[in-house]
Symmetry: C2
Subunit: 342 residues, 2 copies
């Protein structure tokens, strides 16, 4: 009776030979120059996943992070990228016999139809309506979590990072350009792949006209505008900030213009969506208090009876996109496993 | 056998004595001066309702529409309004023995916590954190569909009106002021009660600074700004439009400023949310092509690779709010009936 009981317990737990092999997701973040790859472990909670409720627990770990050149091939870049993903998946499998790669996550830039797994358009990478999910699912025989790079990073910050438990969130990644992810009432907005393009929204410009937001507020714009104003080349926005701290007037003006542009867009989100949490990521967010404090003050001036948002630093760093696509891939894997047992 | 068959059929259809009494929702739209009441019939499809999927069918009818002064009582206005709703519900019941009022819908202006049924704040009506749903549910013993007036109107346009089948929608009601409702990925956004305040978002103003959007784009602003510019009093925005059509330069400028302000806000929504459909309601929307055509053209200038939205006239007229709250009330009634039979 005792032995039968033990056997039953072992069966119920599902523990067998496979217990030595850990389930993992291999994630890819496709950029205009490089593609990153890495194994994402942990942080994925039990069931639920992206389709379910907020609050997946556990520490997340990215293992064996690699960078490779993105195979650029004009309009055929989609197929080339997929072929490279298949090749790298084989290499990761050989290199990590201790892991069972049970799903793949992929993020791409541009306009992305996440629902149908299609890269609609990318100016830098060249594809038009390329079916990433279908191509990779067929080639790999695995569930594929496919999404927009900043969208997936935002999703990761919302599920595991700086905005856990918040329902109305704007994630802004401020680097060379500016991209955003928008969470409303506890769900990230897709808008058919067109949501989150806050860097390309109009804002009032210092000359009294209008400008694209990222032409004033991005790290790239801060450096470029300082050089244009003074003729002095700088390595990046960090130098401009240092000069502003020393009292350089041109640097202070360029920085104030950037804050005005960012604040204007934040205030639009608050007015239209009731945004309560602003997550700032990307290179410019490293400015810390020099960014957060004047930004909050300027947003405040642009609002009346509205909510006042909280500002937090992105928590998951530059691997947020990998983690987000892995979360999505894992939830698809869990769903297909459930179907399999049903 | 024939008779038994007939009896069975009658039982299955659920037709009995109650079939002579039609289920109806009594809806109230509470404004700063008047409160509207009306019986909402039809248009409510089968199950589903507000919580379910898009696509409720059938013609909607508002019967015995009444207007009464809103009982204004400072901070106690919430209680006074509820008392009046209870009183009017009794009157409607007496006057309509052919109807069974099975649920009540209520819309209010201001900041509204729909999830918890609370009127958070209304500048015109005076309440602060008044528990409308709890108060009315207790007093009436009926399910109460409670919501923001423009939010419920937007919901009705999305479910039954101008935006049926669309997933990314901005509803703008342009009257004395401007309020909005935002639908993203097929769900209206609440933002804790703070979403949709597009009339209070900042836009670039003609003097090179910034202004609250409704101070330039509303019907009230158009009339007021024309009079301020010319010293000539006008009855409303309609007069200004007529003057613009005749070539009056000040009227043309004021109208162009209004278009610029409205277009700026529409373009913000498109950039941030991928809005595909813009529903225009309220008095100013009666301007028709004089509004729609320059608005679409101006929005187009403010966008680059973004979606281009379609513009449609609100379909449900000034009773959209009543209809929206009735839809919500009906879905709550259906849900509670289902619980009762489970």
């Amino acid at each position: 009776m005792n032995r039968a009981g033990e056997t039953g317990a072992a069966d119920d737990s599902g523990v067998g030979n496979t217990s030595l092999v850990q389930d993992a997701v291999l994630a890819f973040d496709i950029g205009g120059t490089d593609m990153k790859a890495g194994i994402v472990l942990g942080g994925l909670g039990g069931e639920g996943g992206l389709g379910g409720e907020v609050g997946l627990g556990g520490e997340v770990e990215v293992r064996d992070l690699q960078r490779h050149p993105t195979p650029l091939d004009g309009e055929r870049s989609g197929a080339s990228v997929c072929a490279r993903i298949v090749e790298l998946t084989g290499q990761y499998r050989s290199a990590h016999p201790e892991l069972k790669i049970s799903a793949v996550g992929v993020t791409v830039p541009g306009i992305v139809d996440e629902e149908n797994g299609i890269g609609v358009f990318s100016a830098n990478l060249g594809w038009k309506n390329f079916p990433f999910t279908a191509t990779l699912t067929q080639a790999l025989g695995l569930p594929v979590g496919f999404g927009h790079d900043v969208g997936m990073a935002g999703e990761a910050e919302f599920r595991l990072g700086a905005a856990v438990g918040k329902t109305d969130v704007l994630v802004m990644v401020i680097g060379t350009g500016i991209a955003g992810a928008v969470v409303c009432d506890g769900k990230r907005i897709a808008g058919g792949g067109y949501a989150g393009e806050i860097g390309h929204a109009m804002v009032p410009s210092p000359d009294g006209g209008m400008a694209i937001m990222e032409s004033l507020g991005s790290a790239g714009a801060v450096a470029r505008r300082y050089t244009a104003a003074t003729g002095t080349p700088v390595a990046g926005a960090r130098d401009v900030l240092a000069l502003a701290a020393e009292g350089d007037l041109a640097a202070k003006t360029v920085w104030a213009d950037a804050i005005d542009a960012l604040a204007f867009s934040v205030a639009q989100c608050v007015s239209i969506l009731g945004t309560e949490t602003v997550v700032l990521g990307g290179g410019l967010s490293m400015a810390g208090a020099a960014l957060f404090e004047p930004l909050a003050a300027r947003v405040d001036e642009l609002l009346t009876f509205h909510r006042r948002p909280h500002y937090v630093h992105a928590a998951l760093g530059e691997n947020a996109g990998l983690i987000g696509s892995a979360l999505k891939a894992r939830s698809l894997h869990a769903a297909s496993a459930e179907e399999g047992t049903a």
